[in-house]
Symmetry: C2
Subunit: 331 residues, 2 copies
């Protein structure tokens, strides 16, 4: 353990800085200055990753802490199909936190940074009892794009990208060696990879939104149930989803049995998936189907006085899944 | 104490939201969308306020916690003379934190919000062991403005706004009733006001920068010594300041004696003052003098191989004051 001086640490972190052409000043000022351009709108989002809540250092190496924090923040930009421009890092660390761990967190940003041509353009370091990262991400979208979680319309189809459930499954098995031993290694790798190395759907959504218009969208950060519920409440609509339509890796059925958790809970309640759920009208949905994206129609927005998310289960029974997911204040 | 649901809390916080004309979407989405305009550059800054580090709830009411956090964040915009546009609130609170205290923090934003026509346009709430606020502020400046802490030039004059030392003095006396009793009440009020209700120099610097060009600037958040040292290192110059020129309220001399701390330590080491220190060339300095702003010339940028901040004391001796101030990781 070595003692860190904030300013000297910032000097070291500068090696991770490669200026974006739209950033006017260099790393090191308290403010970041960005050139505006008239055909675009800017988008911002802030995302927090806190030790003991979003990660435990004993099960997650600091490189992965950095990666997952940035993936989560960028996922908010993916929701509107934004092109990331840069990000700002607010780091909270204990007083005697090893300097090398700070650099490991920054190293964790590199893979996503390279993939999306972005780097941190500033930040703060504050002392705290535990590690915390608050990332502000900045991106841009075409000026005419209007997507909001409040724009879902009755009659819309509800669609989700990729597959769901692997992250919650990973959290359930990560310390249970007797279960891990029973899962074929290629399946185990695939389950753990989604937990350790989530990848925000930036390029996927940019491409998709260049071809299709959607009404409302959200990323699956707290669980499909909880996140769709946000669309439902913001749009004052009911969303109906069908258990039989939910996308998941087929082997999760066996793993769910091993864990002793109903499969639909793993799928509907899995947070930090960073898949995107969105709604779009029938016509745009038909267009989307022809384009062959890796997306699954899971339900629809309905005319109903009830605001929330109803799931029709495989046995025909129904259940409200609004609270099936992670509420940060309930834990 | 009541149990809080994150989403319901966000509903309540919406009452503090009045949309800025350049914000395209409403409060409630994960991303904030801002219209770009071509003649301006955007500026961002992130600032953290952590319980047990920047404040203790027993000596600072939550309204003031909110006010001081926003004042500190806006102060970074004042450094470059920016017009604030909006801000994003990342709030960390303990699980059983009273909802009313969250609203008190938000109420604390209102006075500054009204003064600068801004309101929060989004945010996050995360559970934590203690209260923490990370504010991202967004503003804009004319496109041709280039000020950076790395642009100080040898020959520049060093100037500071307002007066220094009251905040450190307030922290020294806040719990010492025997000293407070001895200070005349109008002086005591003035000392405490700067601590409880700091005011960022937004309008002051906007006006000043519309008339004068400056090279480097920084706000006094960690202490004049520590903050000027950042200009010195970023610009690779030496800064010389003179104790006899430092601006402070005359009565601080008596108070310093009562506390038993050398006056210059109160003045040079006082953080969270949110005054602005800046450097400008001789010609611009002459212009500034004629304009009658409440600023004080305290020294100059010199040709010297030494990078840092040297203070010439009243007795003619010299001392390096780079470390006289608050380093968040040293405490």
């Amino acid at each position: 353990m070595i003692h860190i001086r904030e300013d000297l640490l910032i000097e070291k972190i500068k090696e991770f800085y490669k200026p974006h052409p739209r950033i006017v000043n260099g790393f090191g000022d308290d403010t970041i200055i960005l050139k505006e351009i008239p055909t675009q709108n800017l988008v911002f989002s802030v995302d927090a990753t806190i030790e003991g809540r979003h990660f435990y250092p004993d099960i997650l190496p600091y490189e992965q802490v950095g990666h997952r924090a940035l993936a989560g923040a960028l996922s908010d930009l993916a929701v509107v199909g934004a092109t990331p421009l840069t990000f700002i890092v607010n780091l909270e660390i204990p007083k005697r936190f090893p300097e090398n761990n700070v650099l490991r967190i920054y190293r964790g940003f590199e893979e996503l940074g390279k993939a999306f041509c972005i780097s941190p353009s500033g930040g703060n370091i504050t002392a705290s009892e535990r590690v915390g990262l608050v990332l502000t991400v900045i991106g841009e979208i075409p000026r005419d794009r209007t997507i909001s979680r409040s724009h879902a319309e009755p009659g819309d189809k509800v669609v989700v990208t990729g597959d769901l459930g692997r992250v919650r499954t990973a959290l359930n098995i990560i310390n249970r060696h007797e279960i891990k031993k029973k899962i074929p290694s290629d399946q185990l790798d695939e389950i753990l990879e989604k937990f350790y190395k989530p990848w925000p759907k930036i390029n996927f959504m940019k491409k998709l939104l260049s071809e299709v218009n959607i009404n409302a969208s959200i990323d699956i950060s707290d669980g499909l149930g909880a996140d769709l519920s946000r669309i439902a409440r913001a749009s004052q609509v009911e969303i109906v989803i069908y258990e039989r339509k939910l996308p998941f890796k087929p082997y999760l059925r066996d793993v769910a049995r091993m864990i002793g958790t109903p499969l639909f809970q793993l799928v509907v309640g899995s947070g930090e998936e960073y898949e995107i759920a969105f709604t779009l009208n029938e016509e745009e949905f038909e267009k989307l189907k022809r384009l062959g994206y890796d997306v699954t129609e899971i339900g629809e927005v309905t005319h109903s006085p009830h605001v929330g998310v109803r799931m029709v289960k495989e046995d025909g029974s129904e259940v409200y899944v609004d609270n099936m997911g992670y509420d940060h204040l309930k834990g």
